[in-house]
C-alpha cells in the first residue's frame, strides 16, 4: 500500500499498475489518458487542501476535498491533475467544477460533474456521463454511451458505437450517428432541449419520434408524420430497420438529418 499527501507540484511514477482509478476533485482540471507506459500522476498546481493519493491492490485513488462539511466557494479548492493509466483501467471521476478530459481508455468510464466541462476523445469502453450544467463533447467514441445532463449540451461527434442513451432537460443534443453500428440504438429524451441526429446516408432503423409541442423535421420521406391531440409523432421504418431511433421531447424540436450528399 502506498500513500502520498501532495501539497505542491509533483510527479509520481507508480510502481504498481492500477486496474481501477478513482478521482475526486472540486475545482481545477483533470486529464486522464491511456498509456502503455508506467502509470503516472502529475500535479501542476494546487490551491487549497492537499491532494491525497493512495494505491493499494491495484486501486488508485486521487482526492482533493473541501476541508469542511459546508461546501462553499469552489474556487478555493482546485488542482490541475494529469494521470496516465493503462488503457484497460476502469475509471471513475467525480468533480464539482473541475473540467475533465479523458482519452483513449478501453474500459468503463463513469464521470459525474456538476459544472465541469467534459471532453471525451476516442473512448472504446462503456461510458456514463452525468452533469448538471457542464457540456459534454465526445469524439470518436465506440462502445456504449449513456449521458444525462440538466442544462449542459451533449455533442457526439463521429460516434461509432452500439448504443446511445441521452437524457437532458434543456440541454441541446447533437449526435452524428452515421458511423454507428447498423444495429445500434439511439434513445434520446429531453424536455425543452433541441435534438439533432444525423443518420447514415442509407440508414436502417425503426424510428419513433414524438413531441408534445416541439417541431419535428425529417430528411426521410419514408417516415410518416401524425398529429394527435396533445402530441405529434414521426415514425416508420428506414431500410431494414435493424437499429432503433427513439426520441421523445416535451417542447424540444427534433431534427432527423441525413448525411449531406450535395
Amino acid at each position: 500500500m502506498a500513500e502520498w499527501e501532495i501539497e505542491s507540484p509533483e510527479t509520481i511514477q507508480f510502481e504498481e499498475s492500477p486496474s481501477d482509478l478513482l478521482v475526486h476533485l472540486v475545482g481545477g482540471d483533470l486529464n486522464v489518458k491511456a498509456s502503455d507506459g508506467p502509470a503516472t500522476l502529475e500535479i501542476r498546481q494546487i490551491v487549497g487542501p492537499m491532494v491525497r493519493v493512495r494505491l493499494e491492490g491495484g486501486k488508485l485513488e486521487v482526492r482533493q476535498e473541501h476541508p469542511s462539511f459546508w461546501r462553499t466557494d469552489t474556487t478555493r479548492v482546485s488542482a490541475s491533475v494529469t494521470l496516465s493509466v493503462p488503457p484497460g483501467c476502469r475509471v471513475q471521476i467525480d468533480t464539482v467544477s473541475a473540467s475533465v478530459l479523458a482519452e483513449g481508455l478501453n474500459a468503463e468510464l463513469a464521470l459525474k460533474t456538476v459544472s465541469g466541462e467534459a471532453t471525451l476523445e476516442s473512448l472504446r469502453g462503456p461510458v456514463t456521463a452525468a452533469t448538471v450544467s457542464g457540456a459534454v463533447a465526445s469524439r470518436g467514441q465506440s462502445g456504449k454511451f449513456r449521458g444525462e445532463t440538466v442544462s449542459g449540451g451533449v455533442t457526439l461527434d463521429a460516434f461509432g458505437g452500439s448504443s446511445v442513451r441521452l437524457q437532458t432537460v434543456s440541454g441541446e443534443v447533437v449526435a452524428d450517428l452515421k458511423q454507428a453500428d447498423p444495429d445500434s440504438s439511439a434513445e434520446v429524451e429531453t424536455v425543452s432541449g433541441a435534438v439533432y441526429l444525423r443518420l447514415a446516408a442509407s440508414p436502417s432503423q425503426k424510428v419513433r419520434v414524438e413531441s408534445i409541442s416541439g417541431h419535428l423535421t425529417s430528411a426521410f420521406p419514408a417516415l410518416r408524420a401524425e398529429s394527435g391531440p396533445g402530441s405529434r409523432t414521426l415514425k416508420g421504418l428506414l431500410g431494414e430497420g435493424r437499429g432503433k431511433v427513439k426520441v421523445s421531447t416535451v417542447s424540444g424540436s427534433v431534427s432527423l438529418l441525413a448525411e449531406a450528399s450535395d
Partner: protein, 180 residues
C-alpha cells in the same frame, strides 16, 4: 545507468548484491542486471571519485563520496527541470486536445442546425407558392361572377356546400404535413 546507481547510493551505502536486486525491482519486468553490467560501472564511478568502496565482512560496500553527492544533486536538478518541461508540454497538449474536440463539436452543431433550418424552410415554403395564390384568386373571381346574379336554388346550394366542404378538407390535409 550511472545516474541510477548514484541515486540508489544516495540513500546510503549498499553492497553489490543489494544494488543488483534493487535495480531489478525498480525497473521491473524481465530485466535482470548482470554483475557484468553493474560492477564495471561501479568501478568506473570509483575511478571518477564519485563512489568509494570499502570491504567489510567479506563484502564490498559502495557509498557516495562528497563529489558523488554533488554530482547526484546537480543531475537531480536537471532531471527536475526536464520533468517540469515535459509536464508543461503534456498539459499544453491536453489543452489543445480539449479545444480541438470542442471546436469539432461546435462545427458539427452548426452544420446540423443549418441542415435542419434548410429542411424547415423547404417544408414551410411549399403551400405558399405564387402559383397557388393565383389559382385561388381566379377561383374567387369566377365564383363571385357565377353566384352574384341571384340566390342559387336549394339543390344547387346543397351541392355547392358539399363541394366546398370537400375542397376545404382536402386543403387541410395537404397543408397539415408533420406539423399542424
Amino acid at each position: 545507468m550511472r545516474l541510477y546507481l548514484l541515486s540508489l547510493l544516495g540513500d546510503g551505502e549498499l553492497h553489490g548484491y543489494q544494488i543488483i536486486r534493487t535495480l531489478k525491482e525498480r525497473v521491473g519486468g524481465d530485466y535482470t542486471p548482470s554483475a557484468g553490467t553493474v560492477y564495471p560501472r561501479l568501478r568506473q564511478l570509483e575511478r571518477e571519485g564519485l563512489v568509494r568502496a570499502r570491504e567489510a565482512a567479506g563484502r564490498i560496500f559502495y557509498q557516495l563520496t562528497v563529489a558523488g553527492e554533488a554530482a547526484l544533486l546537480e543531475q537531480a536538478t536537471e532531471i527536475q527541470e526536464l520533468e517540469s518541461e515535459v509536464s508543461r508540454i503534456a498539459h499544453e497538449m491536453a489543452t489543445q486536445l480539449r479545444s480541438e474536440v470542442h471546436d469539432s463539436a461546435r462545427e458539427l452543431r452548426e452544420e446540423l442546425r443549418a441542415q435542419s433550418q434548410a429542411l424547415r424552410r423547404r417544408e414551410a415554403g411549399a403551400p405558399f407558392s405564387g402559383e397557388l395564390h393565383q389559382q385561388l384568386a381566379r377561383f374567387t373571381s369566377e365564383w363571385t361572377r357565377l353566384v352574384a346574379p341571384g340566390t342559387p336554388p336549394a339543390q344547387a346550394r346543397a351541392a355547392l356546400t358539399t363541394a366546398i366542404e370537400a375542397a376545404l378538407t382536402q386543403l387541410r390535409r395537404v397543408l397539415a404535413g408533420p406539423n399542424s
